[in-house]
Symmetry: C2
Subunit: 345 residues, 2 copies
DNA sequence: GTAAGCGGTTCATTCCACTGG
DNA sequence: TCCAGTGGAATGAACCGCTTA
């Protein structure tokens, strides 16, 4: 049973209880076995026993201050309100736990300030491309902290940090092409982003759509259907759309939840999918939120597993790796909302 | 422009640049203004300017180690996969930002180990009652760290930490009563919890339902309808239920997402709500996930605002307050899934 | 302004038992 | 038998950046 002395149990307490020096205790409990003097088997046992007995938990801050690491894995997701982040977090948590690292999600947007003073083991930054100064800040972080940075960006090159490049731009082109082969009018359902990132029309996804339309000689701007954000709003707007005069027949959805809402609206309006309306989502739709059959989508195979592995690898690896570029390719995953049956591009 | 010397900017750098001593710089940048020598206005300006110029960010770990605080606000939610936590986090983030505190969500279940070595400013622990040793660990945390603990528990008394007591038990009784007045059979829709927390039937919510049924002389066990977890699964099971021989007429839903799924299933099955089926949710349903009209529910008025205030208060207040008990009362919020029009219990 | 830590990590050093010439 | 040489085990002490007497 842990002695409840009167406060925190420190390494010094453990060392005293085990009858060894502070340095030795530290070596046993945290030093890499590969080091010179790993300690005798006997000593190790004693120290470990004492630590367990006292319920010793290392002070992360002391540890982090000395080594520049130890803060665990930090995920700067920007918003929690996104199933993508939720799924990623679950996977990272599982992987990290195997290495005794805790996983933290930063809930605000100040990743730069936070990470500068935090010494995490590894950190994922997703909003690099969407924030002024993003790339600069990532570089600065990588050069002045020991934190392993993983930048989600389509524009950066790795320099001492990893870069994950995963852009749906080409996928959108292919989606357009795919649907255009069967329909005269292919439309984009997009959320109203207000003034964020320059507005909906300036967003890379919309731009990719417009570009694809242009290649086919179609009037892209007229094919973009902007609705308010949120599931409920999208559902309502979708209902109106499907019952109105401008009935769509082939729709690319900007994001997963919109596809879910549109599918539901179609169900409700009595529009048969995919016979009368084909729907393709950009980005995968979490199984948990799909009420009806699976939605056809473009996405990255095994994103979460792959991304989590990259992150946790960075956290575990103490070496100064140069940093690598991971390019994620988007593929088509047919569901029940399109007439395709195979995954050919 | 920030000098990019070659590493981290420390307080010493700032002091040197400003031409003052380390102590002075520390006083100006972090010391409470109330202290003895706050420094002359002139000095303050110089130091602040130097800090800004260099892009100084205090090292949280050093700060935390010295003071026992500084880790920001930590929310030990266990999982992000719950809209309740997401909504709370958003509110806490807003409140905390006003005090320059960052908000972190701990994604794994090891809150005890994490907090023991972390010196957060404040931490919310939600799973106290559902984990062996929970209360003990909370006490130990409060006594051996400076972190302000807020324990979400219906069983504990505050002892140097705050306790938020918010149990739906009585609300479930009232819901039963409310529906029973109009129906012979009131049922509970619950997720299959497997062996967690002792199984669905052992969960406090289920127990409260059974108790309520017993009071009315109803066979409670027969009225519990257990379905697999997840929106989609619940939707499918709900469909089957509504089309089967055991058609329900009044259902209390264990949790919000189940109510959403059931409402959807009813819509799909052509069962009119609330005319043929009344639905009450235990716990509020996030507006964003409601496709149809608002669902009637029992919940706590302004939970998120109130809870966030409690948490951030604890984080900001450096005094050793004794800790207080906050009791949250559950009320009825009528929506369109019941025939009630007023909120009377 | 000076200086003493907070709790760990880690380099340089001492200590020791044992080898072989 | 004695002693320089050797390498593993354990320790001393500096130090990370900041707060505060």
């Amino acid at each position: 049973m842990p002695r409840e002395s009167r406060g925190t149990v420190t390494l010094a307490d453990v060392a005293r209880a085990a009858g060894v020096s502070l340095a030795t205790a530290s070596f046993v409990l945290s030093g890499r076995g590969g080091s010179r003097s790993a300690g005798s088997a006997e000593t190790k046992k004693k120290v470990r026993a004492a630590a367990a007995e006292l319920g010793y938990v290392p002070n992360r801050h002391a540890q982090a201050m000395r080594t520049g690491r130890g803060g665990g894995v930090v995920l700067a997701l920007g918003t929690l309100d996104d199933p993508w982040g939720v799924q990623l977090t679950a996977q990272v948590r599982d992987d990290a736990l195997a290495h005794d690292l805790s996983t933290l999600v930063l809930a605000d947007e100040r990743w730069y300030e936070y990470l500068l003073g935090a010494s995490a083991d590894a950190a994922l930054v997703t909003s690099v491309d969407f924030v002024a100064d993003g790339p600069d800040r990532v570089r600065r972080l990588a050069s002045s902290t020991h934190t392993g940075i993983i930048a989600f960006s389509a524009q950066m090159e790795p320099e001492g940090f990893d870069v994950v490049s995963s852009t749906p731009v080409r996928a959108i082109g292919r989606a357009y092409h795919r649907l255009r082969a069967r329909h005269d009018r292919v439309q984009l359902l997009a959320p109203d982003l207000g003034r964020r990132v320059g507005g909906t029309l300036a967003h890379p996804r919309t731009r990719a759509f417009l570009e694809a339309a242009r290649e086919h000689g179609d009037p892209g701007e007229q094919r973009v259907h902007i609705v308010p954000e949120g599931s409920h709003e999208t559902y309502l707007a979708g209902l109106e759309w499907l019952r109105g005069p401008d009935l769509p027949e082939a729709v690319i959805c900007f994001t997963g939840y919109q596809a879910v809402a549109l599918q539901l609206a179609a169900e409700r309006a009595g529009v048969r999918v995919p016979e009368e309306l084909e729907i393709v989502s950009i980005g995968d739709v979490p199984a948990k939120s799909e009420f009806f059959g699976p939605i056809s989508y473009y996405g990255v195979d095994d994103v979460f597993v792959r991304l989590a592995r990259i992150i946790v690898d960075r956290a575990v690896d103490r070496e100064d790796r140069p940093g690598s570029l991971h390019t994620f390719d988007w593929e088509f995953f047919p569901g029940t909302t399109t007439r395709d049956t195979d995954g050919a591009s």
